[in-house]
């Protein structure tokens, strides 16, 4: 049985791309065709195995309550044990399929997109390393394994953002991404240490078994702090406010990277972590409230920035942040199902949109401002269709994938909190608006004469088509097949479509798209007039609330300033005073001693004589050992 084999060899899923990394990175870097072939083959095998795991989960009735876990010891010393292993349950199986599929499609796409690039081999090596790390993260059995791969995907993200390392902007963006997520990882690490100290284990299953007892005995106060520290990690990795600043800059990476890492997979690692550790968060209402509010705020906040951005990839980046906020919000209100569902559909439609954007950028090199594009629908029909599907999906128009998952989230939120629901609905209005704006400005209107667009090559069109199909059917089919029965935490919740929620969100989305059409489509309302009338709002939104500037200022003034101050003190105080004084002391002492060494033999003799007397006196009178001898002589 294949699924049997896949279930018991799931450790191969991350290992195969890891082999690809080693082969391509060390031996095949200079052979682009072979490098691409090897990477894609390994990804394909990895995807097939993931599918096998997915089938196996359903066939073998593996649910979240009885996962299939295999592990081997990695580090084991007295009092501390960390394993590496494979944790198969419906959540991780779903992630495996999504991650390996998107990775595979993005690699196929990159064949065309990166063609002729000097770093072609290096690019595929990094992509394979990323796939390996991300898949390793998904199957983590404990917090150590999770953290290990969490950092490794961060490394890949760093390497790939800075892929065009001759560009200063790319180099700085890569650094910023690493450092910003590092701040979150600091919290995550402390949280993990706390868990190790409190429970003596970091294993997910063991923790899940002991956390409820602990809460009954000791209350939730300390554990809430621990959970929030852990949540700092997801805040950094999944671009939640206030550590979101790295994600828009990460668009400096090649577009396939943005699609794979900064839209579909790595950035959802934070969401996945919260879902994986839901046994902890779900018993802590305060922590859950924080997650929900940070998610809701981020969703709304990022959408309000996306409104005014002009760079096509940055608009998509802010929309990613916003959608990640949705997923966090869903988790915060307690619905793992809704969050994971949206994670999956988002992976499809956001990867689709990024790849479509990549096709646009491929056709119009050196351009990224959407207002310099326009009218691309004629020359790029496939790309246009792909982008349209993506926009309809993210806006929540039925029957596209995003409708079902977003509806699931809205419903879950509506049952818990009206303010949060309001924020979510407002966000969904804004989302539909800025997404329609992008679509209309780039693809409709007049074609600019200076542009010579052309449709993407076949290798780039295939992934667009596959993802396009998934963005259409990826919502309804799981929905109709009891997605919630499998991917869930605790009891399965059957909500079905709530027509008031579904209708509200659909109507709002359509209204927003119509508004966008009136402004950017037929020009009934002039956008520059609006921006002039609401100048302050426009400027604040366009400058991303000046948060980057604030952080930069803080970093330069305080962090660097403090370093310079300490160094100055070191040079002028420690060095000057301590060392100069210490060094001059022997010289002065030497001067004193030197005076006595004047060559006068009589004085030398006198000193020697005096010293001998002193020695004898000391030996006779003071030394107990000598006393005994002397006593015997008398």
């Amino acid at each position: 049985m294949f699924n049997q084999y896949a279930l018991h060899h799931a450790w191969l899923i991350p290992l195969l791309p890891a082999f690809a990394f080693i082969f391509v990175g060390f031996f095949l870097r200079r052979l682009p065709a072979v490098a691409g072939f090897v990477s894609i083959c390994m990804s394909l095998l990895s995807f097939i195995l993931s599918l096998g795991v997915g089938y196996g989960v359903i066939a073998r009735q593996i649910t979240v309550d009885n996962p299939l876990v295999q592990k081997i010891p990695w580090v084991s010393i007295a009092g501390f044990q960390a394993d590496m292993g494979v944790y198969v349950d419906p959540i991780s199986a779903m992630m495996l399929v999504v991650v390996s599929l998107v990775a595979l499609l993005v690699q196929i796409y990159s064949l065309g997109y990166m063609r002729g690039d000097n770093g072609f081999g290096r690019f595929f090596a990094y992509l394979s390393l990323f796939a390996a790390s991300m898949l390793g993260l998904v199957i983590a059995v404990n917090f150590v394994q999770l953290f290990v791969f969490w950092e490794l995907v961060g490394l890949c993200s760093y390497l790939l953002i800075g892929f065009y390392f001759n560009k200063v902007s790319a180099r700085e963006a890569a650094k910023k991404a690493f450092i910003t997520t590092r701040i979150g990882d600091f919290g995550l690490l402390i949280g993990i240490l706390f868990l190790q100290i409190l429970f003596g284990t970091l294993d997910f299953q063991q923790l899940a078994a002991t956390v409820p007892t602990y809460v009954m005995q000791h209350g939730t106060a300390l554990l809430t702090i621990v959970a929030l520290l852990i949540f700092l990690g997801p805040i950094g990795k999944s671009g939640q406010f206030p550590l979101h600043v790295w994600l828009p800059d990460a668009m400096e990476g090649p577009t396939p990277v943005s699609a794979l890492i900064h839209a579909a997979t790595m950035v959802v690692a934070g969401v996945y972590l919260v879902a994986r550790a839901f046994f902890l968060f779900s018993v802590l209402p305060d922590a859950m409230a924080v997650i929900a509010w940070i998610g809701a705020f981020t969703a709304c906040f990022a959408a309000s920035i996306a409104f005014t951005q002009r760079d096509i990839k940055r608009i998509l980046a802010y929309s990613t942040i916003s959608q990640l906020g949705y997923m966090m919000l869903a988790l915060g209100v307690g619905s793992v199902t809704a969050s994971m569902f949206h994670l999956m559909t988002h992976a499809f439609f956001k990867a689709l949109m990024f790849l479509a954007a990549g096709a646009v950028l491929h056709a119009l090199p050196e351009k990224n401002d959407i207002f310099t594009m326009g009218g691309l629908r004629h020359k790029m029909p496939v790309t246009f269709a792909a982008m349209t599907i993506g926009v309809l999906a993210i806006s929540g128009i039925p029957p596209f994938a995003g409708f079902f998952s977003k509806d699931e989230i809205l419903l879950a939120v509506a049952q818990v909190s009206t303010p949060l629901y309001t924020i979510a609905v407002v966000t969904s209005f804004m989302t539909a608006f800025y997404m329609a704006r992008l679509l209309i400005v780039v693809f409709c209107g007049e074609e600019k004469p200076e542009n010579q667009p052309h449709e993407a090559p076949l290798s780039m069109r295939i992934p667009l088509i596959v993802l396009g199909v998934l963005a259409v059917i990826g919502g309804y089919i799981p929905y109709a097949n009891n997605f919630g029965d499998w991917v869930r935490f605790g009891a399965a919740v059957h909500e079905g479509i709530d027509f008031s929620v579904a209708a509200t969100s659909t109507v709002i989305a359509i209204l927003a798209m119509c508004l966008a059409w009136f402004i950017y489509g037929n020009g009934m309302v002039r956008s520059d007039k609006i921006s002039r009338r609401f100048r302050i709002f426009y400027k604040v939104s366009f400058h991303k609330y000046y948060i980057d500037e604030l952080y930069l200022w803080f970093n330069h003034t305080f962090v660097d300033g403090f370093g310079k101050l300490l160094y100055w003190l070191e040079l002028h105080f420690v060095e000057a005073i301590l060392i100069k004084v210490a060094a001059s002391l022997p010289v002065k002492l030497g001067n004193v001693v030197r005076k006595s060494q004047n060559g006068n033999l009589q004085r030398y003799g006198l000193v020697m004589f005096g010293a001998m007397i002193l020695v004898v006196v000391w030996l006779v009178l003071l030394n107990p050992l000598f006393n005994g001898v002397a006593g015997g002589a008398y």
Binding site: V75, A78, V144, E151, N166, I190, N555, V559, L578, I579
Partner: protein, 501 residues
């Protein structure tokens, strides 16, 4: 049981090398280098065998040799390694072997250079294998003199003159070792009554158990040792020799000093401090923990303000010593395992860093970050080496630095939650200065002035490949390092937990 004297052979290999080198004509430049390389290759091979053959299930001291030497004073030629010293011995060999190849381009008085380099390595080997305090001190002092000469003759000057830096380093270390000597003599005199006195470490460890060493004596003796070993380890505030010293020293010496000799300080704190003077350690541990936090953060911030590559790594290594110190101060199995593993990982990592900086300096004739940039275009291999070292330095999993740091934190967090919390915040600042350095040196636009610089090749690649491989191998399989360490630390701590703590 009579067996092959493995440790003596390891110790004698470089000494034979020195003897052979000393009879070589000074013009035979290539032969001299080959001899040094072969010598270190044999020593490394033997050590790898020792590491491989070390019985983890048994733990404790193995490959023991004991020959009485000055019986009146209780001095014996006593060797042996356990899980604490064996990784550090391996570290010495790996770094020493690389240091020989890093020095391949030295053509000024190469014979004298390699003799002294081997002498330095002998000193380090001796401290790690000796089980007798007298021998330990002998080898400890052996390391200081060649350093001075090598810095003055083959060194380079940037911020301060190399003579000044060499003098500063020598005075610091000699002053430190004077305190240490006083401490050791006080220990020697107090541990056993006259007639039974011994320098044997195993025997001295029994003095505490027998109750010969009062807490009072232990506190004073350990304080003296702390001054000595603290200077060697560049513990705050005795660190200021380190950045200047590394900057002025030739590359091979910087590698050995930052990579290996510094660890002698940490090793001494554990071998002599923890094992012989547990009550003294326990008394001073809370203070060491505070110093450790200062080490981590102070040096990290100062590193942020540096422009010279060697100074950045110099301060960075001081900062990392804070993690070793806090692991030591926490005094439990996990944290001490972590601290020792960290000594190994940091040794490899900083040696790789200095090797790469040496290569960059050789090729571009500058170490100033603002004058460098975009080197990954011309020198992708060197860039890879830099990246590996940098990522290990900021504790990236998959490289040797991660598990040591993680275990240190786990162990230390139990005992000093607040201090550890503050110290861990250092990982953010470490990321800032390391990534800033990597970005400004390696990445950015291609600079034409470096187009004539060739990437590392031939002998230059040895350190990169060897140390890089070790970083990755021990990163993915940390158990081969920390398992060995734990096999010795666990029983020792179990005894101490029963008694002193």
């Amino acid at each position: 049981m009579v067996h092959f004297p493995l440790l003596t052979t390891i110790l004698l290999t470089p000494i034979w090398g020195i003897l052979v080198l000393s009879i070589m004509p000074r013009e035979a430049d290539k032969t001299i280098k080959m001899i040094a390389a072969v010598t270190m290759a044999i020593a490394l091979g033997l050590t790898l065998y020792a590491y491989w053959a070390y019985d983890i299930t048994l733990g404790g001291l193995q490959y023991v040799e004991h020959v009485p030497w000055i019986e009146e004073l209780g001095v014996a030629y006593s060797l042996g390694v356990d899980g604490i010293s064996l990784p550090l011995l391996l570290l010495t060999m790996l770094v020493g072997f690389s240091a020989v190849f890093v020095s391949w381009n030295i053509d000024k008085r190469s014979k004298e250079f390699f003799i002294q380099l081997l002498l330095l390595i002998v000193g380090a080997i001796g401290t790690f294998v000796s089980q007798d305090l007298f021998i330990f001190l002998l080898f400890y002092e052996l390391g200081i003199v060649p350093t001075y000469i090598m810095m003055v003759v083959w060194g380079s000057a940037e911020r301060v003159s190399k003579e000044y830096a060499a003098m500063k380093l020598t005075i610091y270390l000699l002053l430190g070792s004077a305190f240490m000597l006083a401490g050791v003599i006080a220990l020697y005199v107090n541990a056993f009554p006259a007639g039974m006195r011994t320098f044997g470490m195993q025997a001295l460890a029994q003095a505490h158990v027998l109750g010969n060493l009062s807490e009072h004596v232990q506190v004073i003796v350990f304080f003296l040792l702390l001054l000595g070993f603290g200077s060697t380890l560049s513990m705050w505030p005795f660190y200021s020799w380190a950045p200047d010293g590394y900057a002025a020293a030739p590359t091979g010496v910087s590698m050995l000093h930052a990579g290996v000799l510094k660890k002698v300080g940490g090793y001494g704190l554990i071998r002599i401090g923890l094992l012989i003077l547990p009550l003294g350690v326990k008394f001073w541990a809370p203070f060491i923990a505070i110093f450790a936090v200062v080490n981590v953060l102070y040096a990290a911030f100062v590193a942020l303000a540096q422009k010279d590559l060697k100074y950045i790594i110099g301060y960075s290594s001081i900062s990392h010593m804070g993690y070793i110190l806090i692991g030591f101060a926490a005094l439990n199995v996990i944290s001490i395992d972590g601290a020792i593993a960290n000594m190994f990982a940091h040794g490899i990592m900083s040696a790789l860093f200095f090797a790469m900086i040496g290569l960059v300096y050789d090729k571009t004739k500058t170490r100033q970050v603002p004058e460098l940039g975009g080197l990954a275009h011309q020198m992708p291999r060197i860039a890879t080496g830099f990246m590996l070292a940098g990522m290990s330095s900021l504790g990236l999993p998959g490289l040797a630095g991660f598990i040591p740091e993680f275990t240190t934190f786990v162990g230390a967090f139990k005992v000093y939650p607040l201090y550890t919390f503050i110290a861990i915040s250092g990982i953010v600042f470490t990321a800032v200065y390391i990534l800033r350095m990597l970005a400004n040196v390696l990445f950015g636009p291609r600079r034409e002035e470096f187009d004539s610089c060739r990437d590392a090749s031939g002998a230059e690649l040895v350190s990169l490949v060897l140390l890089g491989t070790v970083l990755v191998a021990f990163g993915f399989f940390p158990q081969i390092l920390i398992g060995v360490i734990n096999s010795s630390v666990e029983p020792i701590m179990a005894t101490l937990m029963g008694g002193a703590f």
